[in-house]
């Protein structure tokens, strides 16, 4: 049975098309990297799987049922927002707020619910940092707490939206490895969106590449090719492989990086790939 199934899906936001006529199938226990330039629709696609963006045409099925809000079997880590960093709340309470959070009543947790919070924190190795208030955590530590939140409720499908944003290469690798090992350990399906392909290369089963309202899903060798990406970018794209790393080049520029440069915080992202421009 496929975990995510898109049939001729059209998605639009504010009247503007984001996806047009996309068909795809993601199976159980797959680790899929979701890639594409800024505004390609990675976040929108995940929100559609969650039932937050209804398709204007076509149908989305998740775990055999039509996509709908409130599916406990789907975990979600939203693209990181600044507001969390200023919350004077401990990491533990931040994660605990998610347990049965849709039910009315007082936010006090029973024994089983507390054990579930601890389990999620243990899975991401955040038990100790969860004692600190969020205001005293780093970006990478907050990512781990967000991941713990997504794991609450024993999801069978995990949607991780840009977990690598604002992390240095070392922490990027740690987060990818963590997500990959969780996927294997729990036997779940993971959609992992990212700005860049290379940090994900070792972990991926397949790539879902978005661009110009189109989508391509397949192995790295099937999707990361000049013809496929040229179609998705709408311009001539060359794929260059150097020492096991892959660069998507538009003319003499690294297309992935150029597209994302503007939202890379304090230029950290730019350093490691600078050589690509002269490749």
């Amino acid at each position: 049975m496929s975990v995510i199934e898109f049939r001729d899906v059209h998605l639009a936001l504010g009247g503007r098309p984001v996806l047009s006529g996309v068909d795809l199938n993601v199976g159980a226990r797959e680790f899929v990297g979701v890639l594409g330039p800024n505004g390609a629709g990675k976040t929108t696609l995940m929100r559609a799987v969650l039932g937050l963006v209804p398709p204007s045409r076509g149908a989305i099925r998740v775990l055999g049922r039509p996509a709908a809000r409130g599916n406990p079997a789907v975990g979600y880590m939203p693209q990181l927002r600044g507001a969390i960093a200023s919350m004077r709340l401990s990491g533990w309470d931040f994660v605990a707020g998610v347990v049965d959070g849709h039910r009315l009543g007082l936010p006090f947790l029973g024994k089983a619910a507390r054990a579930e919070v601890d389990r999620a924190l243990d899975l991401v190795g955040a038990r100790d940092l969860a004692r600190r208030p969020l205001t005293e955590t780093s970006g990478g530590e907050r990512q781990r707490l967000l991941l713990a939140q997504a794991l609450i409720g024993h999801p069978r499908l995990l949607l991780l939206d840009e977990p690598l944003i604002s992390l240095d290469p070392h922490h990027q690798r740690a987060v990818v490895e963590l997500a990959r090992s969780l996927q294997g350990e729990l036997g779940i399906t993971v959609l992992f969106s990212a700005h860049e392909l290379n940090p994900l290369l070792g972990a991926l089963d397949r790539v879902l590449y978005l661009g110009r309202s189109q989508a391509a899903l397949g192995t790295v060798d099937e999707v990361i090719t000049g013809p496929v990406l040229s179609r998705l970018y709408g311009s001539a794209i060359d794929v260059v492989r150097v020492n096991g790393r892959i660069f998507v080049m538009s003319g003499h520029h690294d297309a992935e990086r150029d597209d994302h440069r503007h939202d890379a915080p304090d230029g950290r992202c730019g350093s490691s790939g600078a050589h690509a421009h002269h490749a």
Partner: protein, 286 residues
């Protein structure tokens, strides 16, 4: 001091209001909507002065306009509820209208001062019961929605995905804030609502990072600040609102002062915990 009827009434009224403000204020600060709470109080001023004009008790004018404005703000959604300029404009417009109503009804200049700055020593015995009833309603409503409200506050996108309606809880919460604001204005006046709604909650969140402890501490602080403020007003003959604002600001400053010794101890403890053998999946005592 407790021999006087008006003092007993004042303590009772302030006690009720402090408990409500402390609890509601905790969520207000957590959600970063303190300015919205401030604005609601100002809108209430228009309602109260309008109530004078038509000969209704100002408390009902307050309740009616703050709740209407709270629901309106909630319906307009996050976009407006957190936009400072729009709120600021509504706030000053409301005060302007309040002034206009006063202009038509000049006999109530002292009432205006009481509305703006509060006068807890003049609260009537009957009003205490009204405050207690309103307070019970807001606390019961807050208790009923507190779990999804917390979820929607700390992680809105995930809450939405899990089926929590952000707008519904935003509206309900702002209606509760509006009720609390109207109550609070009886004690410290519309201009100083911040001192009981926001001060204790913000102080509590500086001191503790747990939700349960935070709410309890916020309530305890609000209660202490209100009661000590009234006692000090009794002995000094200075306005009680002055004392409450002073205590509220003082407590926050104390909590905000850097404490170099504390975090070091905490991190030492967590290192010891790290040295222990592999973590198990059994629940940790909190």
């Amino acid at each position: 001091m407790l021999d006087y009827d008006f003092m007993r009434t004042a303590f009772a009224a302030a006690g009720v209001v402090a408990v409500v403000s402390g609890a509601v204020g905790y969520f207000l600060v957590l959600r970063g909507q303190t300015f919205a709470g401030h604005a609601l109080a100002h809108v209430g001023f228009t309602g109260a002065t309008g109530a004078f004009l038509v000969g209704v008790a100002p408390l009902w004018g307050l309740v009616l306009t703050t709740v209407a404005a709270g629901v309106g703000m909630g319906l307009m959604g996050e976009r407006l509820a957190q936009r400072d300029v729009a709120i600021g404009l509504v706030l000053s417009l409301a005060l302007g209208f309040g002034l206009l109503f006063l202009h038509f009804y000049t006999a109530f200049a002292t009432q205006a001062t009481a509305l703006l700055f509060g006068n807890v020593l003049a609260v009537e015995t009957g009003t205490v019961w009204t405050l207690a009833a309103l307070g019970a309603v807001s606390l019961a409503a807050l208790a009923a929605i507190s779990r999804p409200l917390l979820f929607a506050s700390v992680q809105p996108e995930l809450a939405e995905a899990k089926g929590v309606s952000l707008r519904l809880y935003s509206v309900l919460f702002l209606a509760i804030v509006a009720l609390a604001t109207a109550e609070c204005a009886q004690i410290v006046g519309v201009l100083l609502v911040f001192s009981l709604m926001v001060g204790p909650a913000a102080t509590a969140q500086r001191v503790t990072s747990g939700v349960g402890t935070g709410i309890l501490l916020s309530v305890a602080l609000a209660l202490a600040e209100a009661w000590i403020g009234i006692a000090l007003a009794f002995f000094t003959d200075w306005p009680s609102s002055f004392w409450i604002t002073a205590l509220s600001a003082g407590a926050y400053l104390l909590a905000a002062l850097p404490r170099p010794a504390w975090p070091r101890q905490a991190s030492l403890l967590s290192h010891q915990a790290l040295d222990q053998p592999a973590p198990s999946l059994t629940p940790r005592k909190r």
